[in-house]
């Protein structure tokens, strides 16, 4: 019984820790997003990224990047490291791999 309780306690605290770690990662990703992505991808006027995505998706998907619910982390990473259209790729000195993981987690936080 005691063993069961201990195991349960550990499993729960691992889950809680994981959730905290995930939250912290998403929060860190939000910071990366605000620094590197928002200037072109938020909902203000004349945002190049938002305008381009409006044109591409014609309202079928949100044009503001962090309102999306379908951005797979791998896709985010691919675009950040390869660029697309007039958006150049970002170097690892700008967004390092860990920050990119966090950014991808942030953009995937509401995925279905």
């Amino acid at each position: 019984m005691n063993l069961f309780k201990t195991t349960l306690f550990f499993s729960l605290s691992c889950l809680v820790n994981q959730a905290f770690a995930q939250d912290a990662m998403v929060e860190h990703g939000n910071e990366v997003y605000l620094h590197w992505c928002a200037p072109c991808h938020d909902d203000g006027p004349r945002r190049a990224g938002t305008l381009a995505l409006q044109f591409v998706y014609k309202g079928e998907r949100p044009a503001v990047l962090d309102e999306r619910t379908d951005l797979l982390p791998e896709y985010t990473k691919l675009i950040v490291r390869n660029g697309i259209s007039i958006m150049p790729p970002f170097r690892k000195t700008e967004i390092n791999d860990e920050e990119l993981d966090a950014l991808a987690a942030y953009l995937a936080r509401n995925n279905n």
Binding site: R47, A48, F55, G83, S85, F90, R91
Partner: protein
């Protein structure tokens, strides 16, 4: 590994990379194809072709001592280096080197704002500090200071100013190199040099006084390959109380001449301390009226008289200028009133008052106001123009190549430039309307005719862009105009035009280059300056 520095064995290159890694840490030397590809110029008009300028590796130091060590290793193995600060020089070469096979020295991680001095209205920064970073640091400190930034906020005061970049606020701040005060440079032999008052140990005035004592050599480190700049001071403007903008409308073609002269007078006499920008509603509105579009796209360029008739019939001005005044509200009003009187000398000119602001702007104003770089607030909205081209074109642009010629600041010169550039546009089937466009007014005494030529992933389009660029340089040279800045792939061409007295200027640079960088390791070919070993080759 795709590319090696020319003439360097792969064994030496591997050893050099190991030694770079010892200097900066193994995570900050990039040599896999995937990582090196991040240094390609995303807007290269040679994309995917053999002539595309590409790096062999990249190394990213965080401290001056690491930069010195990188330089020492490069000397030992004769590895060409190419320093970048934030590496966002898109349209002028991006983060790619001037010589294929160079190792990019990526200074993005040297990102400390070392000082913000509100009393002296100055700052001291490292190369990786972007305009966004500097702006934020000033806000965090609560200093009432403005930066002057180029349209894209992700570039850096150091990278931008070293390429003679330009911004949008008050006279004296827009020319970013001109607004710097004091530099620290790692020379090709690894020594650290400080310019101006910085040469005085314990100096109290490095960001206060530019010249120090003796020859003022700061300019030699801009658009050059004589050193790696690791710190720079900049003068900042105290936040003004208020801003007003007014516009003047004129209706005849030749009215541009007195319009420009009056703006020059107001600027040069200190009455207007902001930019006077020029425009023409005729070119702006053409999409809305097919009749106008036809007039504008006439082969050989529009007929000024026909456009004048159109302007009169439709009550549209031929030219406009927007005036900008910064400072005390009362003083701005007095200056604008004086400007109104001056412009009234042009028959039919109409003076209209525009928006006014008081500072600081509210967060809402910051988000929505037009062109907030006019208020020293970094942003990225300029890219929306490129995004719109993407929307409308069958062969979407992947960027652009800037051609930027310096033209005298007067109406006659602008007419001549428009005529000459329109001919080139016809020859290369580029949009004529664009080529008859108006000059940019970053500088106080000259204007820049700036054209963004399309860059694509389609080789044929890129070839045409390159050919048009070459032709533009050629016709400019014939007319006594030169470029203020160009992408590395075209720097030989541009420098060749600066050929007075049998290219004495370039020969002088070469003499300096050979003396201070005998192994020719720093940015070979930058601004057309090649080290001896590559000149002879």
């Amino acid at each position: 590994m795709a590319t090696l520095p020319p003439g360097v064995s792969s064994a030496d290159f591997s050893t050099a990379l190991e030694q770079f890694a010892e200097a900066v840490g193994p995570d900050w030397v990039f040599s896999s194809d995937e990582d090196v590809a991040l240094y390609r110029d995303a807007y290269s008009p040679f994309w995917g072709e053999e002539q595309e300028l590409v790096a062999s590796a990249a190394v990213s130091p965080t401290r001056v001592e690491e930069v010195q060590e990188v330089v020492r290793v490069a000397n030992q193995y004769q590895i060409p280096l190419y320093p970048i600060s934030t590496g966002k020089n898109l349209g002028y070469g991006g983060s790619a080197p001037s010589y294929s096979g160079s190792v990019v020295v990526d200074l993005k991680r040297m990102n400390r704002v070392l000082e913000i001095n509100e009393r002296n209205a100055s700052c001291l920064v490292e190369p990786g500090v972007s305009y966004f970073d500097l702006y934020r640091a000033i806000q965090d400190q609560g200093a009432k200071l403005w930066i002057d930034c180029p349209d894209p906020g992700w570039g850096s005061p150091i990278g931008n100013s070293l390429d003679h970049g330009l911004g949008y606020t008050m006279n004296g701040y827009r020319d970013h190199f001109d607004a710097h005060c004091g530099m620290e440079v790692v020379l090709a032999n690894g020594e650290v040099l400080r310019t101006g008052m910085g040469a005085l140990p314990g100096s109290k005035t490095w960001q206060e006084y530019k010249y120090g004592f003796g020859p003022h050599i700061d300019g030699m480190f801009s658009q050059s390959n004589f050193g790696i700049v690791t710190k720079m001071g900049f003068w900042l403007a105290p936040e003004p109380e208020a801003f007003r903008t007014d516009s003047v409308k004129v209706y005849k073609y030749e009215d541009l001449i007195p319009l420009m002269d009056t703006v020059s007078y107001l600027v040069n006499s200190g009455i207007m301390n902001g930019r006077g920008t020029f425009g023409s509603p005729l070119t702006r509105n053409s999409a809305k009226d097919p009749a106008l579009e036809e007039l504008l796209s006439r082969p050989g360029g529009p007929d000024p008289r026909a456009l004048e008739r159109y302007a009169a019939e439709n009550d549209v001005p031929y030219w406009t200028t927007d005036l900008r005044f910064y400072g005390l509200e009362k003083a701005n009003d007095a200056h604008a009133e004086y400007a109104r009187e001056k412009f009234s000398a042009i028959p039919g000119a109409k003076f209209e008052e525009g928006p006014r602001h008081r500072f600081p702007l509210t967060p809402e104003q910051q988000k929505t106001a037009d062109h907030i770089v006019d208020f020293g607030i970094p942003n990225m909205t300029v890219f929306s123009g490129l995004a719109m081209q993407f929307r409308t074109s069958d062969n979407p642009n992947f960027g652009d190549l800037f051609y930027a010629a310096v033209i005298p600041k007067n109406g006659e010169a602008v007419f001549e430039a428009q005529r000459v550039f329109t001919e080139v546009a016809s020859e290369f089937d580029l949009p004529l309307r664009f080529f008859s466009s108006l000059p940019s007014t970053w500088f106080p005494r000259a204007v820049v005719m700036l054209f963004s030529l399309p860059v694509s992933r389609n080789i044929e389009i890129n070839k045409k862009t390159r050919a048009a660029f070459q032709r533009l340089v050629q016709v400019s040279e014939e007319h006594g105009w030169g470029e203020y800045r160009a992408a590395p792939a075209f720097q030989d061409l541009v420098m060749n035009a600066y050929s007075f007295n049998n290219n004495v200027l370039r020969r002088f640079h070469e003499t300096v280059k050979d003396a201070i960088d005998p192994n020719g390791i720093l940015s070979p070919g930058k601004s057309g300056i090649w080290p001896k070993r590559l000149r002879d080759a």
